[in-house]
Subunit: 273 residues, 3 copies
């Protein structure tokens, strides 16, 4: 199944509109190109509707947000909803400032998202802000482990159901869930967290995957998460004793570029709960 999903990305070459932070934007553009899609970055309120109209999907990432770009995120998100385009939210740093938490919550209220992708802390912040599954949140640790995996998967499903979206919680173990089904994904390397923006890259990649596979957003998001993790493994295997996080960053994008559907199908490590 993941094979067909990735093949669809390379065949359909979807055009993905990104409103994203200026820290990792170049890597996001290159990873979208690496998977076979095309990126456009545009964040002015006077053009985001036009740009979204010619695109197939939208990726909203709130890292380095500001009052100017928040307005553009809302406009682009609403336009994407009107057009029936998939929209991904990366709530970078939700919980770290009032502005980020409030902006993420406002986006969730005014825009319908296909996928919400963040770490456990960000997703918990959103779930609390939306009054969901509070009991679970309170108990849930800030790290998904084998021990609390069932609990975390239940939390992801509950929040996915509440938001009517796919929820992707990434970390040592990744969970990608809709209301009914959770993929628990074991790809990836801990060293990926020493690179800035692997999460941002994954969100951009996810937008490409769900845009090329609109009838199966859960599986497309899970495939994107597996692809990123697998790229992290492949890239890690190439590193010499002198290489560090900068070379690792490049090799991960390279690995997406060289990956194909069959390699993804063969390398994906997951179970469904």
């Amino acid at each position: 199944m993941f094979k067909e999903i990735f093949d669809n990305v390379r065949e359909k070459c979807p055009l993905i509109h990104n409103i994203t932070n200026y820290v990792t934007v170049n890597d996001c553009a290159n990873v979208v190109l690496a998977c076979g899609a095309s990126p456009i970055m545009a964040d002015d309120k006077d053009e985001v509707s036009d740009i979204q109209t010619i695109c197939g999907g939208l990726n909203i990432n709130i890292g380095t947000l500001n009052s100017r770009t928040i307005e553009s995120m809302l406009l682009a998100g609403k336009r994407a909803n009107e057009l029936g385009h998939p929209v991904v939210l990366d709530p970078v740093g939700a919980g770290a400032s009032k502005l980020r938490t409030e902006t993420a919550n406002q986006l969730l209220k005014e825009v319908r998202f296909t996928v919400i992708r963040g770490n456990i802390s960000e997703i918990k912040t959103l779930a609390l802000g939306n009054g969901t599954t509070k009991g679970v949140d309170a108990d849930l640790a800030d790290r998904v482990t084998k021990e609390n995996l069932d609990e975390a998967a239940a939390f992801a499903k509950a929040f996915a159901g509440k938001m009517n979206a796919v929820v992707a919680i990434t970390g040592a173990i990744d969970i990608v869930a809709d209301a009914e089904k959770a993929y628990c994904i074991y790809n990836g390397r801990p060293e990926m967290s020493s690179i800035t923006g692997t999460g941002c890259q994954l969100s951009a990649l996810t937008a490409a995957f769900v845009t090329a596979n609109q009838e199966q957003p859960l599986e497309a998001a899970a495939a994107a998460v597996c692809a990123m993790g697998l790229a992290g493994e492949t890239a890690y295997a190439r590193l010499s004793e002198l290489d560090g996080n900068a070379t690792y960053r490049n090799y991960i994008i390279d690995a997406i570029y060289r990956m194909n559907g069959e390699a993804l199908e063969a390398g994906a490590k997951f179970e469904v709960r």
Copy 2:
């Protein structure tokens, strides 16, 4: 001739002011350094005149434009004109949104450009917006090929004459033309389009080349286009089976860094029409 042009860049080390998008700005700065020039990035309206005054040339790139930076582009462009400094326009995404098309047209009306560099689609958008060579545009395909090369060269010359600028249309075959003469350039690799910003990098490089060679902007722009394409070839030859677009990006900048006038002269592949 291209040898002397590149040697001039390395000898004169021109300082190039860039108002450019936040996606590829780091690569633009590094490619300007790689060719022997120096970059300054500055986009606030309260400093662009000061910065342009201490620079030798200006590169305006409208990717990720916004209302704040559009004003700065106009101010910097006018100041460069007053000072007699070469100015390059990269109309990224002209045609993709009303804002980009109108901004590009406003820049063309209010600022005199030395070189206008874009892909065929962007340049056609500008030519139509300026009421030029409409018949040619209508017929001209969105890809320059051996079959339509004469037509494309005629279009480039006509638009160059209209704008009194050098026009560089880059793609599988590149055309660099003034009103009288068109360089048709065969350097480059198709894989370069899998990297974000090779076009942006080329515009920044072109600004460095024309600033160091002000008496021959056509040849300087053609030399920059050949240099970028040749770097794409040299870099491609280094790639292993594991390398992808991220490593390719680095190797292209590296190839500019290692290139000299003689290598450019020997590797440039072009004909004049």
Copy 3:
């Protein structure tokens, strides 16, 4: 001593808030991660106080400043001062425009800095703007050499005393001084200046080092300068004949990633004047 200083960074993993330019921001984030600290980039006035509150230190870099971010720099700086957090200033391009010079001077007036790091030209601009050591400035050349090292060290000490901060002047020879003591540092390679943002990276690294070593800011800043220079040497030794400034950029960050306290202690080349 430098061993312990670097070990502290890796052990304490300080969270560093960066308000920095969009040119080199990705490299700044990756170099902060490479040394074992964590970066957050945030520049909106409505969140910088919140973000600074959860961080341990602040790095303010005025490259690509604008009216919106200048306000945020002042707010974040004042908040960091209230919290007793170390603050680093990188006055990129002070002297190149009125806006940069005035902004740097305003920051120096309204915010107390732990370290001020720039090249000799930038630091001279600040010293003149603050009315300090004018006689020395007037005579001091724009390049620190063995010949004028005593004079430059005296200038650095005088400005450090005036500002009650550590002053780091980087160039062929680096000087890191407080009012009493100047480290003259001989690490580094001239080729580092062919990469955009090695100075910006060093400022971000310095913020991490001083935040993890608050009781000895002079030594921490000197250690960061040695670490960056040593990384430049280590990375240079890896370069092939085909590599240029793009690969060199990656290898320098890699070298910080692979460096440890012992390697820094062994490789640091300095004298105290």
